[in-house]
Symmetry: C2
Subunit: 327 residues, 2 copies
Amino acid sequence: MVTVKDIAAAVGVSIATVSNVLNERPNVGAATRRKVLEVARRLGYRPNRAAQAMRTGRTRTLGLVLPDLTNPFFPELAQAVENKARSLGLVVCLIDSQGSVHSESDGFSLLLQHAVDGIIWCPLGPRLPVSLKKLAGPTVLIDRPRPGYAAVHSDYEMGGRLLAEYALRMGHRRVGLLSGPQQLESARQRRDGFAKAFPGDIQIAWEVSVPFDGNLTAEAVEALERRRKATLIVAGNDLIAISAMRCLSSLGVAVPDEISVTGFDNIRWTDLVTPRLTTIAQPVGAIGARAVELLLEQIAGKNVGSARTVFDVELIERDSVKPHRAK
Amino acid sequence: MVTVKDIAAAVGVSIATVSNVLNERPNVGAATRRKVLEVARRLGYRPNRAAQAMRTGRTRTLGLVLPDLTNPFFPELAQAVENKARSLGLVVCLIDSQGSVHSESDGFSLLLQHAVDGIIWCPLGPRLPVSLKKLAGPTVLIDRPRPGYAAVHSDYEMGGRLLAEYALRMGHRRVGLLSGPQQLESARQRRDGFAKAFPGDIQIAWEVSVPFDGNLTAEAVEALERRRKATLIVAGNDLIAISAMRCLSSLGVAVPDEISVTGFDNIRWTDLVTPRLTTIAQPVGAIGARAVELLLEQIAGKNVGSARTVFDVELIERDSVKPHRAK
DNA sequence: TCCAGCTAGTAAAACGTTACACTAGAGCCG
DNA sequence: CGGCTCTAGTGTAACGTTTTACTAGCTGGA
């Protein structure tokens, strides 16, 4: 392993000068600077991050804590975050909490031990590991905002509204709601954005709350069986929507001919499933990138408080919704 | 931040003794040991990983380099690896090379700079970043073996054979192959395992090689249009199979009534798509866990050489294959 | 009684950086 | 020429661990 000392010896200057060159500090002549850089390159010098970290307290490492890589929304997010981070020379440590709060705080504690510079976190539920809250440094929430934290996410309410407008346009008046977990703001706002858009015109025939991972509860299955004259099912996310479509098809109900379905997230599957799912697209790449930027600002000492960055969403019209003719 | 020095001061011993206790080394009395541990706990001591790393040269960090998180096979793998690693107190740094060789070597170099203890790598293509090859420490390949490296993967040939047996059993005699990139051993063995199982009984009507990400080439689409009397399409993985089914359905060809399709990997979508895809299941969890174990052995100094661990696979029969009656 | 051998513990030197406090020399002005 | 201010550079002390070499004190056997 080649160190600053080796470079210093080879060039014939002190290690301080080498360090100054490498960190682009002043007080070093152009000729020396050139020579140091040349030798560093020739020797294949790579700064020892551990030593740097010890000295500076910065590890150039980010933590990324996600609830469930199995939900295809999160790999996309991870990809975006990793990419942006890497372009800035940061490495990202992934924690997949796999739906368990215990695993989540466990992962958190591991990240803290490794002294990550900051954490991008998509929290599982409303409960926090209090002991860790104190210790955690800069943190930015992603996709699931929560009071007291900086957060980056998309405009769920707008998504709900777009769906409502679309539903109205397509003639649907009675809908069933397969909402996500209502303790999550991200799920609640989708639901409320939809429900409150046209309270007079659209009525909610029934409503069941299910987890985001697409496992339908017995109650949800029952709702899908009875349907109660709903002509459209508005699901909390794509996974729920796709599971619902599967469930309906196994019940012998045709989508979209007998009943329409919408999702939320625009994961890749929406385009591969039959019928292709009409849904709301979030700008995942921008969200991930912005989260990294915000985190970096926070690390740099800027007090971002609980600043929120909210991105617009977009309706993606595919084949899972059919116009409904009023009787 | 509380350090060994603080503990030492609080207990009234030297930092060496504290270190000895913390690292479970001998030469420290039971009473002292107890006191040190108690104080450490009370003060909420967390070892500074950076300092440890500098001293020991070990970072307790693993790199995980994957080609494409967008392919749902890889998140599952990442989950398995991360989980196993975490259970051993290791943190994993994720690199998603996004299909670009440049990005892959870039990520590699970042990992090396951060001095990860080892790397679990699913290589993109057959070309290696030579400059990095020298520098890389312990490395275990996952899913895509390559000569000269330790590797963990499943028995692709067995998978191919199982599919061939199944095809035969279902009466299919003429098949079309939508194989993965043939420069990858993992794709080649699937293909060969199938092709060589019953060379006399099953004939290959046509064969096109396409990328694993499910983007069908023009040539592939053309093959799907003409079909040439093939009654079964054997795809290199599930993503290809699902894309093929989409393509067929847009051509108005019914799966499995007019033509059957098989996949490989058993990703979660296979169960959500219509018709549900018959495929080969790999033990992803076991593969990930084993890779971590193998890497750890290698890090511990055991020379594992290019040892391979190969896992059995399993046929998952669903709805995308229909028995074919010979004319 | 003496010494070997053990136990419990300590002092201090690394590890590779960064950053602070210096200094030698040059240039400039009055 | 004295004294001031720059520039270019140096020496060295940290950072928080681990680890090596060492010591004081005790025990027990001959």
